[in-house]
């Protein structure tokens, strides 16, 4: 009797420690967010309290100020234009290529795969240097187009990888049946395989959007005022000594919120996307 009750309390102790650990993990992940949002709701005087205050009357002044006076809204629009355009372009170019890799037999396929992955590995600084010189010479510095194009260097491989994987999971019988009926490869791709591969296409589009929206280095190097994106804007608050912490955190919150929403939508596919299909 006594042994049973002690093992019962052992189980509940075990459960309690698990609950505590899980709460600790949640706290660790969420706390920086909590701090970002609360700092964004502080006045500059409050933000520069030492030690920091935890309870205060929140104000949205930082948000109205960065959006109306400091031009953050324009940079958010720039980020949106760039991220959406590059994503559409990556999907348009990447889907047919992924279909070919999944369905056709041809020489050099292996090398092509390797080349696509290597693009994911290359440090952006390697391309940032020559890209800067080239676009400066042809007068495209500080335009949306430049960012849209250079973001393809990481978006296109992602789309191709995730979609190739997805096309492979579409039953090959469907292709064979359609070919017997005399359908062209393009028809089979458009009307049979693409609709069935839509989940993968959607996931790759979400990834492409997130990566483009989050990108800083290219934006820093290739834009000035006209096409400046939101992360580059947030960085430009960092000059001088009395940093406007509230404004920086308000801008940061505005940048992060759409990404979080997208990431939570795609959370089940996140691992697959980030490992480019290596882990399902």
């Amino acid at each position: 009797m006594s042994s049973r009750s002690s093992s019962g309390s052992g189980v509940s102790q075990h459960l309690t420690s698990q609950i505590l650990l899980l709460l600790l993990i949640i706290l660790f992940c969420v706390f920086p967010f909590y701090w970002m949002v609360t700092t964004s709701l502080k006045t500059q005087i409050l933000a520069l309290e030492s030690p920091p205050v935890w309870l205060f009357e929140p104000t949205f002044a930082n948000y109205t100020e960065v959006l109306t006076k400091d031009g953050v809204s324009k940079t958010l629009v720039n980020s949106l234009i760039v991220a959406v355009s590059t994503t559409i372009l990556a999907v348009l170019l990447g889907c047919p290529a992924a279909y070919a890799l999944a369905r056709f037999e041809f020489r050099g396929k292996k090398d092509l795969w390797f080349w696509f992955i290597t693009n994911r590995m290359i440090s952006p600084i390697v391309l940032a240097l020559p890209f800067f010189l080239i676009v400066r010479n042809i007068g495209l510095l500080d335009t949306h187009l430049v960012l849209i194009l250079i973001y393809l260097t990481f978006n296109l491989p992602i789309v191709i990888w995730i979609c190739t994987d997805q096309f492979r999971s579409v039953p090959f019988d469907l292709n064979e049946a359609a070919m017997l009926e005399g359908a062209s490869q393009w028809r089979i791709f458009r009307s049979i395989c693409l609709p069935l591969a839509m989940p993968g296409v959607a996931v790759s589009a979400i990834f492409s959007f997130i990566f483009s929206w989050n990108e800083l280095m290219y934006a820093l190097v290739l834009t000035r005022n006209n096409a400046k994106t939101a992360p580059a804007m947030a960085v430009s608050f960092m000059e001088g000594y009395d940093l406007p912490y509230g404004k920086i955190m308000a801008t940061s919150t505005l940048i992060v919120i759409p990404v979080i929403i997208f990431a939570l939508i795609a959370s089940k596919q996140l691992v697959r996307g980030l490992t480019m299909g290596a882990v399902k």
Binding site: G94, S123, I125, L216, T275, A278, V279
Partner: protein, 293 residues
């Protein structure tokens, strides 16, 4: 793998545009960087561009600053990655336990937050939270009796802060990858093993580990590549400072190219970095993506 033999023109129509795009935006600039790297090419003295052969490369290969930055980058990798794997494995095993469904789902969702956070924002957040005077980290440490620590102004501490944020951002990624691996272990095998032994380490070593290996390999490859690429977070947090204590390889090349304006030297550095990256990914990818073979 089922596949069809089709006409060359059909293949070209499907895959040609993507290849052309990547050639134009990926390879062409690289060739240009190759050309620049063979010249004395300073943005402030564009009249003096002159062919100097391999001089930039010779300089880089013997340049202490370059190899120190490279060393720092790998130091970050070898410190942060094992911690990410250890913590990530712990979290994955915890989430793999039965019961407490709601709390575990909530944990899984909160793990998404760090990974999705804009890297630049992580750095800015680091400045706010680790500030010596107004930062919440020093306040929390103060509760347990620590005197305020100069995090960002001190070379060693600044590097620790970088490690901290790298761990914060990427441990969840490792955890989710390993959790995905754990769920692929067939239920019967795991149950049977748990009846055989009470030690979870034995189950982990002999039953679960084989299923975790593909994920671990992926983590190894991607974390290596991403550390070599790491720029945004460090740039917004420390700009490589104080001194050059947190100047990772990407930051160093960016400084040489865009703040010292020596595009020729920076291009040579970038191309050496590219070669190192390609060798590493060749080695790694052969192990991971077996389909390529």
């Amino acid at each position: 793998m089922a596949s069809t033999i089709v006409k060359r023109s059909t293949i070209a129509a499907f895959i040609g545009p993507a290849i052309f795009a990547l050639l134009a935006i990926g390879i062409l600039p690289l060739l240009y960087a190759g050309w620049t790297s063979l010249h004395y090419f300073n943005l402030t003295k564009l009249k003096n561009v002159e062919f100097i052969g391999l001089e930039n490369y010779l300089f880089v290969l013997t340049d202490e600053v370059f190899w120190q930055a490279m060393g720092r980058t790998f130091k970050l990798l070898v410190i942060a990655l094992p911690m990410q794997i250890a913590l990530g494995l712990g979290i994955a095993l915890l989430l793999h336990q039965p019961g407490l469904g709601f709390l575990r789902t909530l944990t899984r969702l909160s793990l998404v937050l760090p990974m999705a956070t804009t890297y630049a924002v992580v750095g800015l957040l680091g400045q706010v939270m680790f500030n010596i005077k107004y930062g919440v980290i020093n306040q929390l440490l103060g509760f347990v009796g620590f005197a305020p620590i100069n995090w960002i102004g001190d070379p060693t501490n600044a590097f620790l802060v970088i490690i901290f944020w790298d761990i914060w951002q990427w441990t969840p990624f490792v955890a989710l990858v390993l959790l995905a691996g754990l769920t692929t272990v067939p239920m019967e095998i795991e149950e049977a093993a748990k009846l055989e032994t009470k030690k979870w380490t034995t189950v982990l070593r002999y039953v679960q580990l084989p299923y975790l290996l593909p994920g671990l390999t992926a983590v190894l490859i991607l974390r290596t590549a991403d550390t070599l690429k790491l720029f945004d977070m460090v740039f917004t947090l420390t700009r490589g400072g104080p001194g050059s204590s947190t100047e990772l390889i990407s930051l160093m090349i960016q400084r040489v190219g865009f703040r010292a304006f020596d595009q020729g030297l920076a291009s040579a550095q970038a191309i050496i970095l590219l070669i190192i990256t390609i060798i590493l990914s060749q080695l790694y990818i052969r192990f991971l993506y077996k389909e390529v073979q």
